[in-house]
């Protein structure tokens, strides 16, 4: 049995103790690892390998866990850094959307999600990549909220963020799927 099967489509939105604990672990890990991020010279964003946790938690445990991991994890990271959890609320929502979209993979990547371990790992990378590109479109709300030029958002925020996060996602999500699936089977989930 796998958590990444079509059987989950019907209970994607179920909130149980398992959902809450996985979501809290995802958010805490993401928040902690955000502190270890490295700024990109000449940019306002950072290389964030830890970001891969957001699509991974969404892909492995569903859209609610993914959304919570991105939303609360980013807020926690901002909170620890002193920026304040709510100051960049639209960025936290963008992070949450990435987890949510990755969590909906059983709806749009059923073939990979239901395949063997290799397929599921590839599916994780593809779902993560799609989620990053779409989810972060939400940061364009800065154009309305902060009167930022679309070109500025594109060049200093959106593109650097998605490039860094895509690399992290494509490398780390399949590895996390490969590492987690045998453990999950061993635990009998």
């Amino acid at each position: 049995m796998s958590t990444l099967t079509m059987d989950r489509r019907n209970n994607l939105w179920e909130v149980t103790s398992r959902t809450i604990v996985y979501a809290a672990i995802g958010a805490a890990l993401y928040g902690i690892l955000l502190v270890a991020q490295v700024p990109i010279p000449g940019s306002t964003v950072s290389v964030r390998p830890a970001f891969a946790l957001v699509p991974f938690f969404g892909y492995a445990f569903g859209p609610i866990v993914g959304f919570f991991t991105g939303l609360v994890g980013n807020g926690i990271g901002d909170q620890i850094s002193g920026w304040g959890a709510l100051t960049s609320w639209n960025w936290s929502i963008a992070n949450g959307l990435v987890g949510l979209i990755a969590g909906l993979a059983p709806m749009y990547l059923a073939r990979w999600v239901n395949g063997n371990l290799r397929d599921r790992a590839i599916g994780g990378a593809v779902a993560g990549a799609i989620a990053v590109v779409i989810g972060f479109l939400f940061v364009f709300t800065d154009a309305i909220l902060q009167n930022m030029d679309i070109g500025t958002i594109l060049s200093t925020l959106y593109i650097p963020v998605i490039v860094g996060d895509l690399i992290g996602t494509i490398i780390l999500v399949p590895i996390l799927v490969y590492a987690w699936e045998p453990v999950k089977a061993q635990l009998g989930r």
Partner: protein
């Protein structure tokens, strides 16, 4: 590795407030600032945010680094926006703007209007960051769950927020243990090239075991919650929150501020960028 949120404002006037006050204050203030583009009013709001910030009693020495990051982030963002904007400002195309100079090599024009916009943006960001700091340092981490729940967040998710804060120290400890174990094996994830790819690759031996261990170890917490009937009925919280008069006065103040800003914004009085006359006069010709 100490990654837990730092409660630096403990005992201050703001820390003694109901935690919901600090959450509501930041939400109301952000929506106030978002409606105002007049630099003079924004300056007033910035002063207000500084006064509010000082009530949190956060020692400067301990958050100097955080402020440096904020200044660099905001400064870079605003500067790039000003250059890419090419001398434009909202409602004022370059042809009508008063160009002060062109940036050498880039040739990008900087006008009195675009400079005013940049300064206004800088003050807006600073005001929002300043009001955000007390939330980060003057609220007890254990109060976030109940505070968000009492503000309307569903019980299960509020508990999830609470649980996230509880997991922080132990997971940070696990991360440090994993990093140390890899270091003993001769692998240092913080060393080496700083490129995108190498950074992502080097994080694998530390991130993957930490994540998988954390998820596998979650079973005990899940069992404990299930055995206590989590989600089967209404949950009670150890901490009880109640507004006092001062709390209500603070919230009332920020509500009034939002209403005034909304009226000012809709009437058009504060919704346009203000350019000081002396900047316009500096423009040649």
């Amino acid at each position: 590795m100490n990654i837990a949120p730092r409660y630096l404002g403990r005992g201050s006037w703001l820390a003694r407030r109901d935690p919901r006050v600090l959450i509501l204050a930041i939400v109301l203030f952000i929506f106030t600032v978002l409606q105002v583009w007049d630099g003079r009013v924004i300056f007033g709001l910035l002063l207000l945010s500084v006064a509010y910030y000082r009530l949190a009693g956060i020692p400067w020495r301990q958050i100097r680094r955080n402020w440096t990051v904020v200044f660099v982030f905001i400064g870079l963002l605003v500067t790039v926006n000003m250059i890419i904007g090419g001398g434009d400002a909202p409602g004022i195309p370059l042809e009508q703007a008063h160009v002060l100079f062109r940036i050498p090599l880039l040739g990008a024009p900087i006008s009195a209007e675009s400079l005013s916009l940049a300064v206004t943006q800088l003050m807006r960001y600073l005001a929002m960051a300043t009001i955000g700091f007390p939330l980060a340092f003057a609220v007890a981490p254990a109060d976030f769950g109940i505070a968000f729940h009492r503000l309307g967040v569903p019980e299960k998710f509020a508990f999830g927020i609470d649980l996230t804060f509880r997991f922080l120290p132990s997971l940070a400890n696990d991360l440090q243990t994993t990093a140390d174990a890899q270091r003993i094996r001769g692998f240092d994830w913080s060393a080496g090239k700083a490129g995108f790819l190498s950074r992502a690759r080097r994080s694998v031996p530390v991130v993957v075991p930490t994540v998988v261990n954390a998820i596998a170890g979650a079973e005990d917490t899940i069992d404990a919650m299930d055995l206590r009937g989590f989600g089967t009925g209404r949950r009670t919280w150890l901490r009880h929150l109640a507004y006092d008069r001062t709390d209500l006065a603070v919230i009332g103040f920020f509500v009034v501020l939002l209403i005034v800003a909304t009226i000012g914004g809709f009437s058009g009085a504060w919704s346009r960028v203000w350019t000081p006359q002396f900047l316009i006069d500096l423009a040649p010709g």
